[in-house]
Amino acid sequence: MPLEITHLFGLKGVSREDIDTILDTAVSFREVLDRPIRIVPTLKGVAVLNLFYEDSTRTRISFELAERRLSAEVVSFSKSSSSVSKGESLRDTVRNIEAMKIDLIVVRHRSPGTPRFLAAHTGCRIINAGDGEHEHPTQALLDMMTMRRHFGTFEGLRVLIVGDILHSRVARSEIWGLTTMGVRVDVCGPSTLMPLDMRGFDVTVHHDFDRVIAEYDVIYMLRIQKERQPAGLIPSAREYTAMYGLTKDRVKRMSPEAVIMHPGPINRGIELDYEVADSDRSLILEQVTNGEAVRMAVLYLLSGRSEQ
């Protein structure tokens, strides 16, 4: 089943059928990771450029491994070691790279909309690996894969996203994707970290974590960025933890079958207690493994010829 989309900019507007195709394909690629030899020749001859203008460990390594495991040619670029520091514009950088015959670009950039810009100015397929506070679609897809593998279905699933919703591209992609699949998604956090207007999203906003925690199957904790405190958005890290951290005591309030997820990197002791992050309720490392499978699936599905 070919995808309707030709680029992956975000999950907003992506159909249920496309998401199903990506997740089903990811299950097949997940199997490759358990083999003695974890490489297949599928994308031999496809050249992929990883264009990372923002720091990233997990996502970048995950994409690179996914590309290499599919036998693609891989070129990686980071801002610090490039001519961006000499003042070259994004468009010039990319047009030059395209002249080197690249088929697919994986991009992370702090400006929302960079992936669309690249699609408009190159002939390459584009995968968004995080653009500003807009979207991070492969993160949401790997989370959805993890939920579906764990619970067997999306039906009846309830997900609570906790923390800095305002600045989170992960939360946005998560909400678009999960809502499309019929999952009930709600958010919880302090008012200062909530968008002023959540009317575009079909979610309920909570502020009292303790009161609602028991109602959900997945407690999805977002990273709290330390620079939010000087900005005056949270009084202190300690107070944030007291109100919104997933502590040992709070875990006891969770529904018995509920699980904990986190996109990483974790701030241990702030949004997640040390023991909680490593507990058997946590699917965090499972998320990381599934991330590779989902990225292999997206790379594969977007690499085919588009002419019908």
Binding site: F29, V32, P36, I37, Y300, E307
Partner: protein
């Protein structure tokens, strides 16, 4: 490209006989079921493999390891195929090292699927030997490959196709092999 005619050439009883024949040949060639493993190629090869494994169970009273292989990741036409082929499940839940691995498919045609399957199987280990069993050999090989066990050889033209239907597959519903003659492009 439209279907000009479709005629049934083998019915359910015939398929059963051919698979039983193949099973006996596999057992004879490999001196019994020890060290055997049966690997079905997606999609219909999987069900043929299951039936052969069941026959081996009936005849020898043992169960042989059985695997499922999807060769999509190893196709050689990825860059030219117009449609993105669907990647299906692979599951080899046993160690292929030192086994006599029998690859099973419904129809042998160009040999490209088998080439891909050989590459795939080597990524799981090093079988002692690999053999190929097919229900139908329709000719027109594009690679130097030869099956070890064949249910029936059917000479076909380029504008003809062999369709194998198996009752395990919902859209097929029945067991039969048909010869389809196409008019027009004949490009598949």
């Amino acid at each position: 490209m439209t279907i000009q005619s479709e005629i049934r050439i083998i019915d359910a009883v015939g398929i059963n006989r051919l698979l039983l024949k193949i099973t006996h040949e596999i057992l004879a060639r490999n001196n019994g079921p020890a060290n055997l493993s049966i690997i079905g190629l997606q999609t219909r090869g999987v069900y043929i493999a299951q039936r052969i494994a069941r026959f081996i169970g009936d005849i020898e009273g043992v169960s042989v390891p059985i695997g499922i292989l999807d060769i999509t990741m190893y196709r050689d036409d990825f860059r030219v195929a117009m449609k993105q082929p669907e990647v299906r499940i692979t599951s080899i839940p046993f160690d292929v090292d030192c086994t006599n691995a029998v690859l099973v498919d419904d129809v042998l045609y160009t040999g490209r699927t088998v080439r891909a399957a050989l590459d795939a199987i080597m990524d799981f280990g090093r079988p002692r030997l690999v053999q190929l069993a097919v229900l139908i050999d329709r000719g027109h090989r594009e690679l130097p490959l030869c099956p070890d066990f064949v249910g029936e050889t059917i000479k076909t033209q380029f504008n003809q196709e062999i369709r194998v239907r198996m009752k395990e597959i919902a859209e097929d519903g029945i067991d039969e092999v048909t010869l389809v003659t196409l008019t027009g492009g004949g490009d598949d």
